[in-house]
Amino acid sequence: MITTNTDSQKNEKIVTINCQFLNQMKLGSEFNATACINCGTCTAICPMEINLLPRQLFRYVLIGAEEKVLENVNNIYSCLLCRMCEENCPAGVHIAENVRSLRTYINREVYGLSRS
């Protein structure tokens, strides 16, 4: 686990990088967010007005900031998987599938739902 200062030393916003989380998300071949060009179309078009998805949230995943991702559990489960954002994404990011991969991770690792 690596702890790093993100913004500046002044505001002391510390983000903990969880390499295990990063590796697990990378292993799930479904997660594709590196192509995102941060244009904001998805945010503007989302009927749920989930402004964290996917721009900021997916960045957290890409740097392994598990804690930050878990602060947004309600957003992650609020996504309708309607794919309105994907239909309009210029970079072809699989937004809904990315959200679903995060749910799978949380279900397994946070809620312990891999075995019943």
């Binding site: 009927p47 749920m48 559990v73 309600n74 489960y77 609020s78 309708l80 998987l81 309607c82 794919r83 309105m84 994907e86 239909e87 679903r100 991969s101 995060l102 749910r103 799978t104 991770y105 949380i106 279900n107 397994r108 946070v110 809620y111 739902l113 891999s114 075995r115 019943s116």
Partner: protein, 322 residues
């Protein structure tokens, strides 16, 4: 406190693994719609309902209860509920739809079968083996439970020598046609949606209906399965004029239904937004998904109405059918 996500999903996951459905129903309830049809048991082509229409009255009733619990102290006890649900199907005690409501969601399946018969389609039904597809488990990311369930359902089809499935709703169509092949090696069953079959070979029109409606496209039909033109073609063919909203087809807004079990209040807000868009075009909304129908109906004023497309089709192809 909102509805607790982990424990609610835990109950769904346990139900899928132990009882083969998120909300287990009796065989009698699942197959009740088929009374009077004498459909053959099995066959190489079968009608696969995936229990979606049959489940809606129960999901409606349960989310009504959840809506009452949302933000209340009762949510603290969901963990205990999950513990007991492992032994006894507790969800059965949370959902009490009326006979009228159950009949209302059986009727579209009956209409669809009648329309397919009028188009000359021949198919059977698996009755007690007409299992749930696992669609909600997949959407909620319950991949371990979903994977096991999908394999079980696929093996049932293989044991019955099924070669083609006729599906009747967007969630089941998408899950078996586009998702199962990623989870099941050598998946080789053809999946056809009933509107695709009818649009390719429309039954003779007995009665033209002269009405103006607007169409709400379910997200999965519009953005995943390319089923946009078929419902419009079928409606035009029976004399219906379709007034389009700006946000239709691939740009159609969601009905909010997928949020019903975890965020019932948000789900209603999204439905209201969508209904307002649709009612700007016509006072009658037509859709082809039981989840959309249920969610849009909850917020549609009494002066307006929401219908399953099958109601209109059957009225035109088989006016005396009940």
């Amino acid at each position: 406190m909102p509805v607790p996500i982990g424990n609610t999903l835990g109950i769904f996951s346990d139900n899928i693994v132990r009882r083969r459905s998120i909300l287990p129903l009796s065989t009698k309830r699942i197959t009740h719609w088929s009374n009077g049809f004498s459909l053959p048991h099995g066959g190489s082509t079968i009608l696969y309902t995936g229990q979606m229409y049959q489940l809606i009255p129960f999901i409606n009733s349960m989310s009504h209860q959840l809506g009452k619990f949302e933000d209340s102290w009762i949510t603290r006890f969901f963990g205990i509920g999950r513990f007991f649900n492992k032994m006894l199907n507790l969800t059965k005690f949370m959902a009490f739809p009326s006979s009228k409501e159950k009949a209302a969601y059986d009727q579209p399946i009956r209409n669809i079968v009648e329309c397919l018969h009028k188009a000359g389609s021949e198919f059977g039904y698996l009755y007690e083996h007409d299992y749930y597809s696992g669609a909600l488990a997949y959407d909620e990311g319950l991949d371990d439970a979903f994977k096991r369930h999908a394999k079980f359902v696929y093996n049932v089809w293989k044991e019955h020598n099924v070669k083609t499935l006729i599906t009747i709703d967007p969630h089941t169509t998408n899950i078996v046609r586009s998702i199962y092949p990623h989870y099941i090696e050598d998946f080789d069953i053809e999946v056809k949606n009933y509107m695709e079959i009818l649009a390719e070979n429309p039954p003779p029109v007995v009665q033209h209906l002269h009405e103006t409606v607007t169409v709400h496209d379910p997200c999965l039909y519009a953005r995943s399965e390319s089923i946009v033109e078929q419902p419009r073609k079928l409606l035009r063919n029976i004399g219906i004029e379709v007034q389009e909203t700006e946000l239709s087809g691939a740009l159609a807004n969601c009905c909010g239904g997928p949020l019903e079990s975890l965020f019932p209040k948000k789900s209603l807000l999204i439905a209201k937004k969508r209904v307002d868009q649709l009612l700007d075009c016509a006072s009658t909304i037509i859709t082809s998904c039981p989840i959309c129908m249920a969610n849009l109906k909850r917020v549609t004023p009494e002066t307006h109405s929401v219908h399953d497309i099958s109601e209109y089709l059957v009225k035109s192809y088989s006016p005396d059918f009940k």
